[in-house]
Subunit: 352 residues, 5 copies
């Protein structure tokens, strides 16, 4: 597990001090500049601050995508060009944020979580910050990822509406790409639930228990990451930010529907996971009950028999039965009768 | 189980791209055209796009019912005639939708779930999409079903108000038909609960546990399918869509009442199902307790007896008791006394 | 249990088709007519439709009480006289209704549940429908009952305000009579809870478990029957229906208070019932624990002793201890020491 | 337990009929009259109706405190003097009330519960009714108590603001006195929780279980008694009653804060009590587990040993081992090896 | 544990009587005076009342920080200078307060909790009261602490905006310092949860149970201390107090976000802690099940064997098998067959 920088490190610092909170990283920050309008398209990897500051004043729509948020000085220079409030910079580099939307007059600041499943089936969360202004969009990711590639492709090829619409449509496309990924994460959980459901009834083991626990943890985590985003997207859809035009809002409503659907599904999964644990406990109880009954049946049959055998194994001189000719067969008969009557008793009680 | 196409397949595609999500199907899509007004009635199975596009401009009320949503091109042509927004088409073919209502100005788009019970007692859910315009109604189902037949019959025979009222009354009739089916599904669950209730107290088996789990799953599923429909129908009833006239709203209120009643009943079932699991667990505990006590009683009586027998089965040369004349009867008496006093002890403790 | 007609029977019928849903009945419907004003009073059992249609136009206040709702044709004729909407008639004969209030302009329609306890301690629910118009009240019950008798008596004897006030006061008196009965049903449940509470701690049996389950079922049922009535009476009290005059509303507030108090109490009972089940489970666990410890103590003492006895019961030729003079007493001493040290061990561990 | 008169007794009576519901009592009702203004003070035990009716018209502030509500006629005469609505009288004598506030135009009627702990640690609830008019306050208690003494003392000695302010300040003082007592009841519960917490982990007995149950019952009861009072005092603080002047409302806000704080604490206690039960169950499970393991270890070691001993206790003629010289020591060695290897096995599994 | 003075002590006292409720203390109260404006800075430890009363009328911003609230007379004198309402003084010295905000016209009164973790990992809560007026801030703490030092330092060195902004910015800095500490407390809990999670699955002991219980207690406590603060800071952020200027509110929104995030995290922790207990119970059940099966297997194999051995240990004269030449090997073979078939049976049932 990579080393994380914790939030408590910030206690005592004045507000607006940007401290990178999250996984420690060493990769170089990559800044991708895309400018476009209906007629043209320009793309560049920016190295120097002048390059992206120039982008600020370009005509058409400008999209600055920053991959890597641990180089504080670089972000501060970028923030300077675009007139970002110190509190925004502080929030961008603090990856321990709750999804939120904040209107700063000149731009609106949106934070949300990108969720994917890694090779081992674990959920990976990454924070994405968006700054939407009049004709620009800044996006900040913790590291490079392929999630924005289809959007860039659509810009390059002028596919769909993207080159005809404004920066708000671009922001919507980015939000949509992030939310679409949530479905994959949910489907993974659904598969797990189906597997666990079979396992918990057929053959519950301590391993099953641990898997149920991990599933519940994941669901709690997902809920925490997605739930607050509903009110963010709801507020945008209701038009609380002037940067989203009426025509874009119909698309935001679409994202809002997806988000509500995802949260619904999460609630359903949560109920199912709780159900799984109940079934697990009941299954274990059932098996214990079975073992207990088997033991009781065995003990109840053999204890009296062993006692009778022990009785006639005593060495008293004066035990007349021992001398009887039919003593041994009589005792065997007695034992058989005891065993059979016990069995009849248990069968009547439906014990096996 | 039929193969399903999952939602994650859509990640990365631009919004408004219609992808069929749901069970893979191969049947041909059937398009049923019904035009009517107070004086006349016309019915046709449409084959070519021109036929249903012509329907758009007919006088009177037009109802286009589409059974099968997997032929994307056909739906796109239909959408073209009726001026449907790409997002609507995308939603119609995505059967993994939450019930919702969306106003697009020229028409209102309503999605809900049709629920029935199949032969094996399982719940079958199918998505129904409605497009209600000024004088037309489009309805989309995943496959053919007999649910709309009584409505068609009423139109044919001019029974009730249906030929006198507008497209909104027709939409109400369709919604009513779907919601009425919910009651049958609920009654099936009620029967199951009654059966399980008897079983869980009289003779709980692991099979009972699995049935309780399936019941709970079904209830969670039903809740997810029906709950959001309440706010849909509530919004329509409050007149949030101009396509429902004041006179139709009294009927919508009726459907709203049914929906609230169904959700109430679902909540009740949920509480009952939780209660069943509690009783199951308690019953298993009870039986385990019983087995445990039986075992304890048997062991507590026979262990001392077996020990005494073992004692006098020892082969020490010098064991004077063995030579006594009344040794054997005395030991038998001792054993009887031990057994009786143990029994008295347990009876006093009310152990059996 | 009497045969019930289920709601799913209605699927496919046009809205406003009255189908009697509930217990099948054969008694004749009884229609009771009462007309009164401050000066006079008139009472009659109506047989023919003309009689109660005439009542519609009488001066003063008219109360038509109908006992029995299974004769659809009779109700339709009555509905005709008083101008009832088909949906209202449909709801009156459908006893599977949620308490609700609906304003139809000329009259307000109120549905609620009458709850009583029968001889066997079971809750009996009956649906009561009220139609309150300008100067008339229609009331519909599933069968005859004595619940309205005190009100009729007060009208006969001009006791209290009833003859001086309007139809709204009469409706209030009817609602009050129904809600007052709820307290008796609650008190019955309270007695049960007290009984179960003693039982669950002193001597929990499977019978106790079943009683707790029945109690919880009853509470769920009561909640479902009473909870929606709160918003009905709340809406009336806030003056949402013009048929209740300002002076009557102070009495509605009284009923509202009672309803809230009853729901509060139901919630409390629910918490208590959940507590009972927890205690039951804990009690069973406790007893199992006790049995387990007894068994463990017995086994731990006698197993080593029996082993030692078995050891010296072996028939090896060469076992010198068997020949020793003090061998037998020495073994007895050893056994006593083992038994005593085990006892000391368990006492120290506070096991018995 | 004193005999109680139950609420169901009232079913069928017209509204506004005062019936004393609560503990049956025989003490004489005591009526205490206090009149005061900034300059003077007058105090009297009223015997005849004329005395307190005269008080109604006195100058300054009049406080009539009534201890005992079972003498209906006396209360009716008092109600007559002060113009109380029949429903108010009915509510005053019905001690089974939910805390509430009702505005009757000429006065406001407030009901709340006084809670104290008796010698046996049980909660005693008593209903207190207040009628606040322009310059008078009526207070009704079920029996005498010392709770108002400090207020009377402050009036006598003109301590604080009480003689300078109006009847609303007096009402506030009464409410404050009642709510202040709640803290004592809560602290008692807190002590119980602390005690139970130690007990449940150190040495859980069936007695502990019963105590947890009683605690939960008490908390449910307290919640029911206090929770509705929050909205009462909230409504008063927001100025919904004209009888509380702006200057008094700052003091009501203080009481409101106390009430919210008490409800918060109750919720916390509830969570803690639920936690206690969880811990109890887990503790019992733990101990059962321990007993089970001990038993298993003992049985697993001694059963094979006893079997081996039994084997060589058989009386077959032809058992060569019995004749061997080292047969006995060899068997002893075998037994020791079995016992030791079992122990090693369990130690590895960390079973003891 | 230090002696605490309980709240019930106050019952019966008139409102506005300041009584110190909380830990008994003996340290001298320390009063720190800081005055500053953009150009200058002045700092002093005040001893006499005149000193801090003078501060009231100083130009620039005045911050009076009081450490220790048990010297009632001193606080009363201070309250006199700054015109504090008696109810405010009463609340300041009562450390058993719920976080709240109250507007008194001339100043706003804010109470909140400072939370830290002491050496033993326990949560320490301390009450902080703030009085924010036009150009002054009073802060009251229960004892000295280093939490305000960074703020004082920023004032001294004119770092950041603090010297340029008003008293509201100072208040914000104080609130921010307190809330920042919450993160540390949460991170400590997170570490505990991680530890417990490993423990509960790998090796659950009664100690684990106690730790889970302590964790849940802590979370309940934290929730109670932090939850009400959300609405306090929310109200301030929405501008309900005129003392916070528009420019400061953007910083309050930042604190609000932190608080919401903290509460979110607490809810998550709560769910996780509940999950831990479920896992604990399941783990214990699992281990019991394992012990039970082991016992059953052992008993089921050895009981029949011991019985057979006992059978041939009987001393009947006439037992022909005993005389057979191959009797002993035959019995050994029989025993081996019994043992093997039992093992096969259990293996098939997957019991070990």
């Amino acid at each position: 597990m990579p080393k994380r920088i914790k939030r408590s490190k910030k206690a005592g610092l004045p507000p607006g001090t940007p401290i990178h909170i999250g996984e420690k990283r060493t990769e170089k920050t990559r800044i991708q500049l895309i400018s476009y309008d209906e007629s043209g398209f320009f793309e560049q990897e920016a190295e120097a601050a002048e390059e992206y500051c120039a982008a600020r004043t370009a005509t058409g729509i400008t999209w600055v995508n920053v991959d890597g948020i641990h180089q504080i000085d670089l972000l501060q220079r970028l923030g300077g060009c675009f007139g970002l409030h110190p509190l925004v910079l502080e929030d961008i580099v603090n990856t321990d944020q709750r999804p939120k939307m904040e209107d700063f007059g000149d731009y609106v600041y949106i934070v949300l979580k990108m969720l994917t499943t890694n090779g081992g089936g674990e959920i990976v969360a990454e924070q994405i910050s968006l700054i939407l202004g009049q004709n620009f969009l800044l996006s900040f990711r913790e590291r490079e990822s392929d999630i924005f590639n289809p959007i860039v492709e659509r810009i390059r090829n002028a596919k769909g509406l993207i080159r005809k619409e404004g920066a708000d449509y671009l922001a919507h496309a980015v939000l949509d790409a992030v939310v679409d990924r949530y479905f994959g994460v949910l489907e993974k959980r659904e598969e797990e639930i189906d597997l666990l459901e079979d396992e918990v009834i057929a053959d519950p083991t301590p391993r099953t228990l641990q898997n149920i626990h991990t599933l519940r943890r994941d669901l709690i985590f997902l809920r925490k990451a997605i739930f607050p985003f509903r009110s963010v997207i709801g507020a945008l859809e209701r038009g609380e930010s002037p940067f989203f035009k009426q025509t874009s809002r119909i698309y935001l409503r679409d994202i809002y529907d997806h988000t509500v659907h995802i949260i619904d599904t999460l609630e359903t999964f949560r109920d199912l996971a709780t159900g799984l644990l109940d079934i697990y406990l009941s299954s274990v109880s059932n098996r214990m009950n079975l073992a207990m009954r088997t033991l009781t049946v065995i003990a109840t049959i053999f204890m009296p028999l062993t006692f009778i055998a022990g009785l006639y194994g005593m060495n008293f001189k004066n035990m007349p039965e021992l001398q009887w000719r039919w003593g041994y067969p009589a005792v065997l008969l007695l034992m058989a009768m005891v065993a059979i009557s016990m069995q009849v008793y248990f069968r009547r009680k439906k014990w096996f």
